[in-house]
């Protein structure tokens, strides 16, 4: 009745990595990565610098050849195909606009390679510039534009030839914070309206979580988790993901005989998955997963510092000598006005605590 899962995945996927690896000499930057992206899906590759996310992206564009494995666009194996034959669009971190060409010619570059000319060319260039809401600047040189405008030209240039896959390599990292927030929403809207399968590389978790349909968290060339933003945030698959997403506390500890984490000073913390007794670990506790209660159950502690940042209030809480962590609460909540010196109790769900073995 039902086709095997793998076959079904193949039929649906617009972009797939099959057991892809990449080594430079003895250094493995990508290890045995298999991913499948659905038609029209927006996937973010998220991870710290050097995790292999950009290498994966460049493999799709044909700018890096995988050492092992295959890359597929639709049903076509593109592993050995040169970049000019792949029909993908790429927005570079540096934008890489051609400085000697006008905005019009930059956007027309890909279309001209497809032998589009005359009225059709002008029409499609104008349409692409309208898409990124940048009309009327076609005659300018890139150097005459602001960073945000250059960004839009880079996107227009990438979408004008109607690529099969759209690739973004940290495109927002050169913009200031406010413009970045605007562009996040605008990019997501643009991707929705175009319906082009999109791969978006970033090291910024809020960017990845807010824009993508699915987030692929990577570390050390390995996929840690590939799931919806909600799942990645609430149900991290590995300790690395738990430590990378959200605003985690990191405390040194050791697995006690009862399986809890001993943070020293008599503080013991129940963890989801602990490990062997005596193992040195780093306990990872999300700030936002710690509930402050006035009394009752929970770890006893004392407020050391209070920091108000608008929507949230953060507290530094001392649990014992040398054991401090940051907890936060809504600034309109019941425990938002606690002064330093106030004794409190902290309720921490065991599922929100992760033990990361220390190498």
């Amino acid at each position: 009745m039902d086709a095997p899962l793998a076959a079904r995945g193949c039929a649906l996927s617009a972009l797939a990595f099959e057991r892809v690896g990449k080594s430079y000499g003895a250094t493995e930057v990508v290890r045995d990565v298999s991913l499948s992206v659905a038609e029209g899906e927006f996937v973010a590759l998220l991870g710290p610098s050097g995790c292999g996310k950009t290498t994966l992206l460049r493999m799709v564009a044909g700018l890096v050849a995988p050492s092992t494995g295959r890359v597929l666009i639709g049903a076509q194996d593109v592993t050995a195909l040169s970049p000019d034959k792949r029909g993908v669009g790429l927005v570079f971190q540096s934008y890489a606009l051609f400085p000697h060409l006008t905005v019009f010619e930059n956007v027309a570059f890909g279309l001209r390679r497809q032998r589009v000319s005359g009225a059709v060319l002008s029409e499609r260039v104008e349409a692409a510039l309208a898409m990124v809401r940048l009309p009327g600047l076609a005659a300018r040189r890139p150097s005459e534009l602001s960073g945000g405008q250059q960004q839009r030209v880079a996107i227009a240039r990438a979408i004008a030839p109607r690529p099969r896959v759209l690739l973004f390599d940290e495109p927002l990292s050169n913009l200031d914070a406010q413009l970045r927030d605007e562009m996040q929403i605008e990019l997501k809207r643009l991707q929705r309206s175009l319906g082009i399968t999109t791969l978006f590389v970033t090291h910024d978790q809020s960017e990845a979580l807010s824009m993508a349909d699915r987030v692929c968290v990577m570390a050390h060339g390995v996929v840690q988790q590939f799931d919806t933003p909600e799942a990645v945030y609430h149900r991290p698959a590995t300790a690395f993901v738990a430590g990378f997403i959200g605003r985690p506390n990191r405390l040194a500890g050791r697995i006690a005989a009862d399986g809890r984490i001993d943070l020293g000073g008599g503080v013991l913390l129940a963890a989801g998955e602990a490990g062997a007794t005596g193992t040195a670990v780093e306990a990872i506790i999300r700030q936002e997963a710690i509930a402050i209660t006035g009394d009752g159950d929970g770890l006893p502690g004392t407020i050391v510092l209070r920091a108000f940042n608008g929507a949230r209030v953060q507290y530094v809480v001392r649990l014992a000598e040398g054991v401090e962590l940051v907890a936060e609460t809504a600034s309109s909540g019941a425990h938002s006005g606690l002064e330093p010196g106030t004794p409190v109790r902290l309720a921490i769900a065991p599922g929100a605590v992760f033990a990361l073995p220390v190498a």
Binding site: S82, D84, V88, A96, L97, P99, G110, R157, P161
Partner: protein, 261 residues
């Protein structure tokens, strides 16, 4: 009265400039003298020496030969040097640093040494006295200028530009022609001018390799001076000064030449 250090520096600078430029002025003035020997200040004014030079088959032959070598060597060096610089800058060849040093070597090696070495090499390979051999010698001494200019230009180029062109559907050669070449062109023009002038001006290498029948302009000037000087040498030198000055001025106007020196 004591002079401020700033004034001393200014005066020294002027003194150096005058000292360096005075010989040029002397040559130009001497070219207009009516006397049959070089003298300063010139006695009377005449253009006869220019007329003589431009109607003398020996001078005209030398000018033709020099222009042929300069244009030919520059064109060949431009093609070879740009290709080499591209391969080096993009790390397409192993030992790129060693290769750079090797290609740039003629710049620091004494010209006389290159001349002697080529003389022996050509004697062994039967290229001695051939125009092809001379042309290749000029390529060797001009290629470093092209490579240096091209390397500088390529280093200032975002490598992502060519990648962007490739992803947008340009083949490798198309990406080079449509993106890289236009962007490094000012640097290449500067390098080509240096190469051209270097070839046009070269004596120490050329003099070892030249045949009895064919000679170049600077070698002919050199030998004419040895045989006794009349103002025709000054006249041809003046023409050379005007030509190179004109080329440099044009290059500066068009490309901002000084940025590549």
């Amino acid at each position: 009265m004591e002079m401020a250090p700033g004034r001393i520096a200014t005066w020294t600078a002027w003194a150096v400039i005058v000292f360096l430029q005075l010989p040029v002025l002397v040559v130009v003035l001497a070219a207009f003298s009516t006397t049959s020997y070089l003298t300063i200040p010139p006695q009377g004014w005449t253009l006869a020496w220019f007329a003589k030079v431009l109607s003398d088959p020996a001078w005209l032959g030398a000018i033709r030969m020099s222009l042929f070598l300069a244009f030919g060597a520059t064109a060949i060096a431009l093609a070879l040097g740009t290709a080499a610089a591209y391969a080096i800058a993009r790390r397409m060849v192993p030992g790129a640093d060693a290769l750079t040093a090797l290609v740039m070597a003629p710049l620091v090696m004494p010209s006389v040494v290159i001349g002697v070495a080529l003389l022996q090499f050509y004697a062994l390979t039967g290229l001695r006295g051939s125009i092809f051999g001379l042309l290749m010698a000029h390529v060797v001494i001009t290629v470093p200028y092209i490579v240096r200019a091209a390397l500088t230009s390529l280093a200032g180029l975002d490598g992502a530009l060519e990648e962007a062109a490739r992803v947008l559907g340009a083949t490798g050669p198309e990406a080079f022609r449509l993106v890289t070449l236009p962007l490094i062109r000012p640097g290449l023009v500067a390098g080509a001018l240096f190469a051209f002038i270097t070839s046009l001006d070269n004596v120490p290498v050329t003099i070892f390799l030249i045949s009895a029948r064919q000679t170049t302009l600077p070698v002919l000037i050199f030998s004419s001076v040895e045989m006794g000087v009349d103002p025709s040498v000054a006249a041809i030198s003046t023409l050379l000064i005007i030509a190179t000055g004109g080329i440099l001025l044009l290059a500066e106007r068009r490309f901002g030449f000084h940025r590549f020196i």
